[in-house]
Amino acid sequence: MNDTSAVRVWLLHLGVVAALFAAGFLLPDYHRGVFSRVMVLAVFAMGYNLLLGYSGLLSLGHAMFFAAGLYGAGLPLYHLGWSPVPAFAAGVAAGGLLALVVGALALRTVGVAFMIVTMMFSQVVYLTTLYFTTWTRGEEGLVLPPASRRLALGDAVVSLSDPAARYMVALGLFAIVLLVMLRLVRAPFGRTLAGIRENEERMRMLGYDTFRAKLGAVVVSGLVCAAAGAAYGLMFGYVGSGFASIQYSILPLLWVLVGGAATTLGPLLGTAFMFYVIDYASGLTTAWLVLVGAALIFVVLFFPKGILGTLRERWLKWLP
C-alpha cells in the first residue's frame, strides 16, 4: 500500500465524517432524526462486518451483543440510578465479556455449525431477557426517563433526548468506530483476519494462531456491537426484548451485505439505504418485512458483493 493511496483513503473517511457533521446543521429535523439512528445502527453493522466481511465468519446471533450493550447500560441506569457514562461502559463491558465466552465456545465449530451455534446462544440471551421479566419487563421493555439521560460535561449539561445533541453524540460514536475500524483492518491484525478468511489452513501452516486471531475478532466485534446497543438504549431511551430477537441478528447481516462486506463504509451505506427503503415502503404497506426478505434474496442472487463491493471491483480498486 503506497503513501498516496493511504492519504486518499484517510481523506475519504474524514470527508465522510465532515459531511455528516455538516448534515447535522443542514438536514431537516425528520432526516436528522433518521440519521441519528442510522449512524448508531451502522456502528452495529460495522461490528458485524469485522466478522462477516474481514474474518469470513457468518454469525446469526449478533443481536445478543447488541442486547448485552442495551441491557448492560439500561438496567443499571434504570434500577441503580447510574449516570450515562458508567452505564455505557458497563454495557460495552457486558458485550465484551459475552463475546469472549461465546467466541471461545462457538469458534470450536466451523461453517454451518458456527451459524447455528451463534443463533442458539443468541436465542438463550433473548429468552433470558424474557425470563427475568421482573427487571426487564420483557417485550414491553423499559422506558429510560429523559432526566436520567443527561451527560455532564464540565458545567454544561447535554441532554441525550435533545435531537441536535443526540445527532452529534451519534456522529461522535460513529466517527470513532469508523476510524478505529479503518486503522484495524489495515493493521497486521486485520491482514491476519483476511488471510484466515481466504485460507485458514495456510495461515496456520505459516505459524499464526488462527484461533486466537478469530477470538480477538469476535471480542472486538462484540465490543463494537455492544457499544452500539448501549448508545441506542441511552440515546433513544428504550430497552426491550425485541432488540435481542433473531430479527436483530438478521438486520446487520442484511445491512452489511447490501452495503458491501469487507468495505469500511459499506455498513453505513447499507444501513442508510435499507432504512430509507423500509421507511418508504412502510408508508405504502404494512408488509415491509416482505421487502427485507426480497432484498436479502436479491442481494445474494445478483449483488453478492454489495454496493461498495461492486464499485470497488469495477472502478475504485483502492477502496478499503
Partner: protein
C-alpha cells in the same frame, strides 16, 4: 390426579409433539443431508401447510373428515410446489453455496411469513378434527385423534425409511448425498434430484402441519418454535441420519412434554434446552448417530 397418571398424560402429549417433530425434522435433515443446504424457511413451510389446510377444510361443507382429507392431499402439494419454485429460481442459481443459501432462505422466511400475515391475518384459527372420540383410560379420557396422529407419523416414517433404503429413488438420493459429482458422472440428474428433495422436505413439514393443526390451530407465527426444535432434533440425532432423527425427536418431544407439564417454567426449560443443544453442537458436532463431516 396422582403423579403416575399425570406423568402418563405428559408422556402422551410428548409423544404427539415427537411425532410431528420427527416428520418435520426428517424433511430438514433430508435437505441438509442431500443438498448441504440449511433451510431456515422450513418452519414457514410448516406454517404454510397449516394455513392451506385451514383454507381447504373451511371450503368444504359437510363432515369435517371430507375437508380434512382434502387438506391432507392439497396442502403438501401446494407447499411442495412453492418449495420447488424456490429451489429452481433461487437456490439453484446460488450453486447451493451454504452461506448464500442460508441468507436466501431467511429472505424466503420473511416473505412467506409476511404474506401469510397479510392475506391470512394475525388470528389463530382452528381446523375441525376428522373424527372426535375419546379413549377412556382409568384416570382420564384422551383424544383419539391425537393417538391417530402418532400412528400416522409412524406409518409415514416407515414409508420414508422404505423409500430411502429399498427403492431406486432412495438409491439415487443416497448416491447424490454421498458424492454429487460422481453421481452426475453416472448419469444421475443431480439438479432434478435436488429440486425433488427440496420439495419433498417441504412436503414432510406440510404433512406434519396438517396432522397437528386440528389440535393446535393455524397461526402465521406457528413455524418459529418447530423450526428451532427441528434444528435441535437434527443436530442431536446427527445430520442426515434417519434413525438418529427419530430417536432425537422422541427424546426432545417427550422431554418437552414432560418438562413443560410437570416441572418449572417453560421459558427456563427452553433456555436450558437451547443451551444444552448449543453445547452438544460445540463438543459433539456429529450428534448421537451421525458420522463426522468429511
Amino acid at each position: 390426579m396422582g403423579f403416575g397418571p399425570l406423568l402418563l398424560l405428559a408422556s402422551l402429549e410428548g409423544l404427539v409433539t415427537a411425532a410431528t417433530l420427527a416428520l418435520m425434522a426428517l424433511g430438514l435433515s433430508l435437505v441438509f443431508g442431500v443438498m448441504r443446504v440449511v433451510n431456515v424457511a422450513h418452519g414457514e413451510f410448516f406454517m404454510l401447510g397449516a394455513v392451506v389446510a385451514w383454507a381447504v377444510s373451511t371450503a368444504f361443507a359437510g363432515h369435517p373428515a371430507v375437508g380434512f382429507g382434502a387438506a391432507l392431499l392439497v396442502a403438501p402439494l401446494v407447499v411442495g410446489a412453492v418449495a420447488f419454485a424456490a429451489e429452481r429460481l433461487v437456490l439453484k442459481r446460488l450453486n447451493y453455496d451454504p452461506e448464500a443459501t442460508i441468507v436466501a432462505t431467511i429472505g424466503l422466511l420473511y416473505i412467506v411469513q409476511q404474506l401469510a400475515l397479510t392475506f391470512y391475518g394475525a388470528d389463530a384459527r382452528p381446523v375441525q378434527p376428522p373424527f372426535s372420540f375419546r379413549v377412556q383410560l382409568p384416570w382420564f379420557g384422551y383424544s383419539g385423534y391425537k393417538l391417530a396422529v402418532v400412528a400416522a407419523a409412524v406409518v409415514l416414517l416407515l414409508g420414508a425409511w422404505f423409500v430411502l433404503a429399498r427403492t431406486r429413488a432412495g438409491l439415487v438420493m443416497r448416491a447424490t448425498q454421498y458424492d454429487a459429482e460422481t453421481a452426475q458422472a453416472f448419469g444421475i440428474p443431480v439438479g432434478r434430484v435436488y429440486a425433488a428433495v427440496f420439495a419433498l422436505g417441504a412436503m414432510l413439514a406440510a404433512v406434519a402441519a396438517v396432522l397437528v393443526v386440528p389440535v393446535s390451530q393455524a397461526h402465521y407465527l406457528m413455524g418459529r418454535d418447530p423450526l428451532l426444535l427441528s434444528f435441535v432434533v437434527v443436530i442431536i440425532g446427527g445430520l442426515g441420519s434417519l434413525r438418529g432423527t427419530v430417536v432425537a425427536a422422541l427424546l426432545i418431544g417427550l422431554s418437552d412434554g414432560i418438562i413443560s407439564t410437570l416441572f418449572f417454567s417453560p421459558t427456563l426449560a427452553k433456555i436450558l434446552a437451547t443451551l444444552i443443544v448449543a453445547l452438544v453442537l460445540v463438543f459433539r458436532p456429529q450428534g448421537l448417530y451421525g458420522t463426522a463431516a468429511r
